[in-house]
Each structure stands twice: as structure tokens, then as C-alpha cells.
Symmetry: C2
Subunit: 184 residues, 2 copies
């Protein structure tokens, strides 16, 4: 790794929060956001990422990312439709669906697709549970209702630094970083 001439990675996403999280992990890399949409299929996050990598016309080094949010008591809903469900139902409706049930298990899973000297997928998971009410104002999406295992606060009550020590996205980005550091 040459710190004077860091490797540039193009991160194709419309979500600035994800870019910020990536920059926080990928020290020594220059992350450039390419703010555009691409075809996302109705599939798992891995399916979304692999399909998009096949169909993007941009050439590497580039990354795309997709994150699923799976709630055990709702048969894995909303899965890879996390972003659509966040926009339409929102956290309030998710809490309404769960009511006061004690079965509140949930997990996030991030898949990162890398196109650079071939194609690869990196994954990261974070297990936890759905809070009984929305708490905190950091982060985005489902963060205010997700309490990671071993903690008593939601992702939205953590600083980005704290969240990045345990989050699904940070795990996937650390795997990506480790891989890149070994091949460049």
C-alpha cells in the first residue's frame, strides 16, 4: 500500500450514509461516490449485488453494496426490500407489526460486490433484536429500532465509531479491505 497514492475505489450508491461508513473503515483508500442507480433485482442481497455487477457498464475498481434486514417473527421480512419498506412503512409500522411480542430477533446482512481483477462478494452480519420503541437519532434506516446483541442501546444511540466496531457493514468492509491490501 502506498499512502501517498491511495487506491481509488468507486462506490456506486445513492446513499451518502453508506459512503461515510465505508470511508470510516477503508483508511488508506480513496472512496469516490458515484451517485447513480442501477437495476436491483427482487432477490437476496447477494443476488442483487451479483446481478448488478454483471449489468453495470462501468469498469473497476468499483464497489456496490446491498443490505438486507431480516426479522425472524416476520418470516425474514423485509429482507432485501429494506429500503423500500423503510420508505413506505417506516419503523413505526414495523414496531406495530411486532406489537409486544417477546420474539424480536433480527439481523442485518451486508453484501459488497467488488469489480477489480475479477468479481468478488464480501459479507458481514450483525445479530440483535427489535427495540420496543424507536430510540436515538444517529445512523439511518432501521438503526433506531435495532439493538445489537450484547448491547442495551440501538444503533441510532451509538456514535458512528461505536457502530462501526460491530456493524454488518463494517464487517463486510473490513473483509474487503483485508482482501485488497493483500492483492495491491
Amino acid at each position: 500500500m502506498n499512502m501517498l497514492f491511495p487506491m481509488e475505489l468507486f462506490f456506486i450508491t445513492t446513499n451518502r450514509n453508506k459512503v461515510e461508513e465505508a470511508r470510516n473503515i477503508l483508511e488508506g483508500f480513496e472512496i469516490t461516490q458515484v451517485d447513480k442507480e442501477y437495476p436491483e433485482i427482487q432477490s437476496s442481497s447477494e443476488g442483487v449485488v451479483l446481478f448488478a455487477l454483471e449489468h453495470l457498464k462501468e469498469r473497476g475498481p468499483l464497489i456496490i453494496e446491498d443490505t438486507s434486514f431480516c426479522i425472524k417473527n416476520l418470516n425474514g421480512f423485509p429482507g432485501a426490500f429494506a429500503s423500500y419498506v423503510q420508505k413506505t412503512l417506516g419503523n413505526k409500522r414495523i414496531l406495530q407489526l411486532l406489537g409486544d411480542t417477546e420474539e424480536r430477533g433480527a439481523y442485518f446482512e451486508t453484501c459488497i460486490g467488488l469489480s477489480y481483477k475479477g468479481k468478488r462478494v464480501f459479507k458481514g452480519k450483525c445479530y440483535g433484536s427489535i427495540a420496543f420503541e424507536s430510540r436515538g437519532s444517529n445512523g439511518f434506516g432501521f438503526d433506531p429500532i435495532f439493538i445489537p446483541n450484547g448491547y442495551d442501546k440501538t444503533f441510532a444511540e451509538m456514535s458512528l465509531k461505536e457502530k462501526n466496531q460491530i456493524s454488518h457493514r463494517s464487517k463486510a468492509f473490513r473483509s474487503l479491505k483485508e482482501y485488497l491490501e493483500n492483492i495491491i
Copy 2:
């Protein structure tokens, strides 16, 4: 139209109920089900159908179909994710989300993509409301909780013949039929 040698249309779908509804409308055509999946993007039904037509390798005459289900009080949810939401949340959870609110407006919209002498999309809508409880056992999907405007029974309480007089899918298939009868 030659009734002795009907035109054969390949209907690419994994859903037999949809094939049955299509056959009921498309008299004079031979509908052959091709039971396979194709990439469905996260978009509107029209987006899904147009993208699939671009990416299918089969050559016409073929049809694909996508139906959205939009609930006003849920910001249009589940939209084109109707099938995924039916599998994970199901009608019970939809009723739970609406509770006893009087705002129960909803509509179905079908888009049919035809690949034959070019590509075309045919649409049909049906407006109605969400019932207060699930009723009837005909049809499939959201039929037991959808009451079309002007009726006091759900789609699932109607015979296929009754449903086909007013349904979104029947309207789209009738437009398709009319178009085909004029060009063949």
C-alpha cells in the same frame, strides 16, 4: 383469426392461477405456460415487465405479467413487491397494519408485456378497498381482503367468471386480446 389454428402465446410465469385467468379471457388463443423465473427488478410493475422483456432470451410470441397491489394508507405498499409480501407478511399482517382505520382504499394494477412484432405493454387497474377481515377461498394472494368498488364481496368470494368481468388482470388481458386480434 383462424380458430382451427389458434395463435400460440408463451406465458412465462411460475403462477398457475394467472395462467388460468389468462386462458379464461384469451379465447381463440393457445396459452402455453413456461414455468420459469426471470430477473424482476425492484421497480413498478411496468419497470419489472419492460426490464424482463429486454433480458429474456426466449423469442416471441411471449407474454409476461406483473401485478402491483397498492394500499393508500400504507404509502402504496406493497406495490410491485406484492408476491414477496404475501409470502412473508400475508393478509393477516396487512389487516393488522390497517387496524380499524376507515381509510382502506387500495388498487391492483396489472402490466402485461408482449414480445411479438416488437414490444408492447398493456395495463389494467381495479380500485377497491381492504376488507376488515379475510373472506372467501377463491382466487389467490390478496383476493380474500380486497373488495372491488361497487361490490360488497371480496375477489375471493367471487367465481373466476365474476372476477374476470372487473379485475385488473382481465382488463389488461382484454387489451392484449384486442391488439392481437387486429394485427394477426
